[in-house]
Assembly symmetry: C2
């Protein structure tokens, strides 16, 4: 049994959908849920279900940190908030992973403070496949680290390498560095300095990869500063949505409605991976912490819990810790 | 008559297509062409046409700086190269603008050295509409300045403002700053510092604009670091190409070939603006210098000459110089 602490208070559809999703997960039989929230709220929600034979345990917390709060400040003002209590269970060894559908900022700040960060990671990273046309190409970071030192980008490469190994079973993943030209040395200062570190890292670094090439999926891992990675993710969504609208308009009347719908739906999914699949694990923190999509309902909650279970079983935290230390020493990074 | 110096030696299809395009332009009757190239080459090309009554004058140069050359070095080693001579004609007041289909790096280095840069511009910038879904939204810079100080981004805003005024006749263009969140203060250090300058600039600054929002075209000018702007341009092309391929594959057999072709062609053009239209003026240099697309043939050459003519007639260089000085002093920028 894997033990997952679920923040029942976070997310657009909390607590109702989160509690319902946690119950669905518990029915799988291989996961035990610690449901963290205000006691009266939990009681009211749990009363709607028959949980008598399910491995679900309510864990009391006080209040919630929401999207509008300034995360670091809220963490001090609400030390018993649901996300803090859920993450604390992981830290104390009472849970194998935490899951929240709530504020990304709050989850990150909490994970950094409560679980702690791995060597060379100054903020937790988020990443994974974000372009559906290249479904096995993981981009790291996609939004949490917007001012990266080259040594941080090196750490993202290690994280991506590990991701590709454990998730896709790729033996020696190719690592590319997102840049504006394919030649070595093309790019901004950050990219040029990172190239040098990656060359010495022992990772399977294949050089720069241009954004248009990245879409083809030839490289397993693409390393990017979180600002640029987030631009990639959001622009992909924007171009995708505009393309969907154009195709729908032009095909109207020319094809049966159902055919148009299935084509545009496919195009949408290829360009809106995060909206479709939602969330992901926080990378580089000393514990499993998964952020689900804020708009997610019970199905997404169940899927986020599933993710946390997988990450725990893969032993990603100790494996990643070791790899980071090794690669950074090989590249001569000391900070 | 506007006088344009055309680099006959630069570009994938030089000299044949460049010379042919210049001749086409000369036939319009309102432009005089200085055709710059190796004398024997020019002679051989011109012999193919009847130019007896056209305002075309060959101007001798020696050699060409190509894509593979390191621009700054090549500029010293080939001081009489075609791009250098063509740009020199502008500097000396013997031409109103220069046009090349050759190496972007060479054209930029030459323009910077020979024509000189305006206040606060440390490298010439490139920009314009690069997303076909937002055909009147100009993004500046899209690739030449990959390590920008906030004061450079302020200068890009001034350039974009001028562009929108003269090209689209927009009275008080809205200026957005490309970032990863819409709220003021969201983004990396560069964006946060630039926000403060833009707020004081007197420009119609509307705050941050996210990549997915930018695609909708609600903002007239989007300011971006050249690294990020280039990522935007190339990713748009990549997502567009992948979408075109998907749509073509799924529709095969379901619609007449011609209908599929016209839909995918439209989708391609919306996402490959630069491939479709090619090049643009170098912004922030003290003279008119237009770079056409390297792969361009006679039609594109003619269009690039047309562009140079327009920029000259609009008086963009003196107008931009004044605006830059004014806005920078208002924002308190001194460097």
């Amino acid at each position: 049994m894997v033990r997952i602490a679920v923040d029942a208070m976070g997310g657009d559809h909390a607590p109702t959908e989160v509690v319902a999703g946690a119950i669905e997960a518990a029915k799988q039989g291989d996961v035990q849920i610690g449901l963290v929230g205000d006691p009266q709220v939990l009681q009211a929600e749990l009363a709607k279900h028959d949980i008598s034979r399910l491995p679900i345990m309510p864990v009391p917390s006080e209040g919630v940190i929401s999207e509008g709060d300034q995360p670091a400040l809220a963490l001090r003002q609400k030390p018993k908030a649901s996300i803090v209590v859920a993450t604390g269970l992981v830290k104390k060894g009472m849970a194998d992973g935490a899951v929240t559908m709530g504020s990304t900022g709050a989850a990150m700040a909490t994970a950094a403070v409560v679980l702690g960060l791995m060597d060379g990671i100054s903020r937790p990273a988020l990443g994974g496949p974000v372009i559906g046309f290249a479904p096995r190409t993981s981009i790291i970071d996609v939004g949490t680290n917007v001012d990266c030192r080259p040594s941080q980008l090196l750490s993202f490469a290690v994280i991506g390498d590990m991701w590709a190994r454990v998730f896709w079973n790729i033996e020696n993943p190719t690592i590319g560095l997102l840049s504006v030209g394919a030649e070595f040395g093309k790019g901004n200062r950050q990219v040029r300095e990172t190239s040098e570190l990656l060359t010495k890292s022992g990772l399977n670094f294949v050089g720069n990869v241009e954004p248009n090439e990245m879409v083809k999926g030839d490289v397993d891992v693409v390393v990017a500063d979180g600002f640029v990675g987030n631009v990639v993710m959001k622009l992909t969504e924007g171009i995708g949505q505009a393309s969907v609208d154009l195709v729908r308009e032009r095909l109207a009347g020319a094809l049966p409605e159902g055919d148009i719908e299935s084509l545009t739906q496919e195009l949408f999914e290829k360009t809106n991976v995060v909206n479709t699949h939602g969330g992901g694990p926080l990378l580089g923190v000393k514990g499993v912490s998964v952020i689900g999509h804020g708009r997610g309902e019970r199905e997404e909650v169940k899927r986020a819990i599933e993710q946390a279970k997988i990450w725990h079983r893969l032993g990603i935290v100790p494996k990643l810790g070791e790899a980071l230390t090794e690669v950074r020493s090989r590249a001569g990074v000391e900070e």
